[in-house]
Symmetry: C2
Subunit: 322 residues, 2 copies
């Protein structure tokens, strides 16, 4: 395989999974070839339907993702998946289990599953994920599914910036509905009760219905999020969920929200990159200043706290554009 940016970009556009995997790795590792290749493929992005799937550990998100892949494949669509690991240095076992379950599609070249660690991503998880989404998008995947437990600000950014955000709940985990209220209610476009054959599914459904009813009253003219029931392990309800996702996509395209969502995602990347580059720039400039050394010395001597020291240093900078 070519090792140049142009070669990898050509491979990505030719839909070679090996080229896509390499480009995602380059971007993760801040290899300069990654940025060059991304520049070449960027004009070919913007077509994929980005679906975010989130819910608590144990909700069956991976099984549901697996079932959604099968259903999308039946409908003739190529599917990219980005699975975000909880990434505990300790959680190897469970994560491996999830990945193994996805092996159903391992021999299907129209399915590209990439797992992202959440640790040590330069520039943060959301940027690494959006990079990977751009790559899969340029590879012509009709649907890109991002699966995450939805913990942390980065993950909330990711699901909030998806075209269609699916919130998965499951009976028997405790106070799920209260938990959804706290973080993800506003971001959800479709709500799913998975393992709907379990005890407690009816009570959970009633709670979710009430919650969605209250939400609807504050946004009477917006998309009305459907509440679906699935048993991902058997595939029950997955075709109906896919229908609902298709309907949501059609609504987004009709209203222009599909493009708005893409614009918001690219803007998020731009702001995040600008923030990091700016910070590098300023840290490099500041480290060459005698004032910096003096402030750090005073801080270490207990004479000035870190907040005051950093504020003083930034206050004496001036920034110019040509």
């Amino acid at each position: 395989m070519s090792q140049t940016a142009a070669g990898i970009a050509a491979g990505v556009l030719a839909r070679e999974i090996g080229a896509g995997a390499r480009l995602i790795r380059w971007l993760e590792e801040s290899d300069p070839r990654g940025r060059d290749a991304l520049a070449l493929i960027y004009p070919h992005t913007g077509r994929a339907h980005l679906i975010g799937i989130t819910g608590p550990p144990g909700a069956g998100k991976s099984t549901l993702t697996n079932a959604l892949i099968s259903e999308q494949r039946k409908r003739g669509r190529r599917v990219g998946v980005i699975a975000i690991d909880p990434s505990s240095p300790f959680s190897g076992g469970a994560v491996l289990g999830d990945r193994v379950r996805m092996q159903t599609h391992a021999l299907d070249t129209d399915v590209f599953i990439r797992s992202m660690g959440t640790r040590g991503q330069l520039g943060g998880l959301s940027r690494a994920t959006f990079d990977a989404i751009l790559v899969q998008d340029a590879m012509g995947y009709d649907v890109v599914i991002v699966e995450t437990v939805g913990v942390g600000q980065d993950e909330l950014d990711i699901v909030s910036l998806a075209h269609s955000t699916v919130i998965v709940s499951v009976p028997g985990l405790g106070d799920e509905v209260q938990a959804i209220k706290a973080g993800l209610l506003e971001a959800g476009d479709l709500f799913v009760v998975n393992k709907a054959d379990r005890e407690g599914a009816d009570a959970l459904t009633r709670q979710l219905e009430l919650m969605l009813h209250l939400r609807e009253q504050t946004r009477p003219h917006a998309w009305k999020p459907p509440l679906m029931h699935t048993t991902a392990l058997t595939g029950q309800g997955v075709a109906a969920l896919t229908d609902a996702l298709d309907e949501h996509l059609a609504t987004l395209k009709a209203s222009g929200a599909f493009t708005q969502c893409l614009i918001a995602r690219n803007r998020h990347m731009f702001d995040s990159l600008l923030r990091d580059l700016a910070a590098q720039h300023i840290l490099a400039a500041a480290s060459a200043q005698p004032a910096t050394a003096a402030l750090i010395h005073a801080m270490q001597a207990g004479q000035i706290d870190p907040y005051s020291a950093a504020t003083q240093l930034v206050a004496c900078m001036s920034l110019q554009f040509p």
Copy 2:
């Protein structure tokens, strides 16, 4: 209670838990009074022994923390605890369980337990945690314990920058030792097999011994991390662990590493603050530039990718110190 920065700072120095709790909240919420009060208390920080406790979910970290509090109290020490929630919007149940277990010490005014969410912390989890540590330190707590599952870069920063990092393992969770190797082996100062009465404890102990032996060969003159056994639920082994922590503290103080560690932590805060302030500064300056609007427009039209756009903008800036 006084609502001024000076009043709260006085309350913190007078060891009032209400004042400490309020200051931590101000700092979390970026209330400007928080920074003012921190500046006032900063000269009184630097004395607490900061202990990081990390390990996988289910290792019994909260129970161990609870037992350590009891033992430290027996030795006449005042104890601050910062418990970092996994913060899933979904995990309310389990977290509540942990906090309830800690109620043993709820009526003891020489114990101050603060729970930190990991979501939506302005400036990140590590800064919010280090802020809370500074507050507890200024309140004269002899020991400050930070308990975290050790997921994510921020949490690794936190445990790495503690004076004494305790890595808790437990038999029966799977491939724990491999997992420790990946992330935390280098950071650990004390290793604990908790639930040491469980099946599998001997095998886990042998694996950890081998690992520590290999680590020792690469660092022959450094502190030799002890491998301890506890059954936190009954308190078994907790006095010995506290002895080992005391010994580690004495070693750090004798070598000057105690102060070095504090310096590294303050420097980490300073760099993180400088990075954020710098980024705010540059984003504000950039948003006023016509070049920025033109680049964003080109990006949204698919003519330039986010990396190239952000790089071009930063390249044309110049930064000056007086």
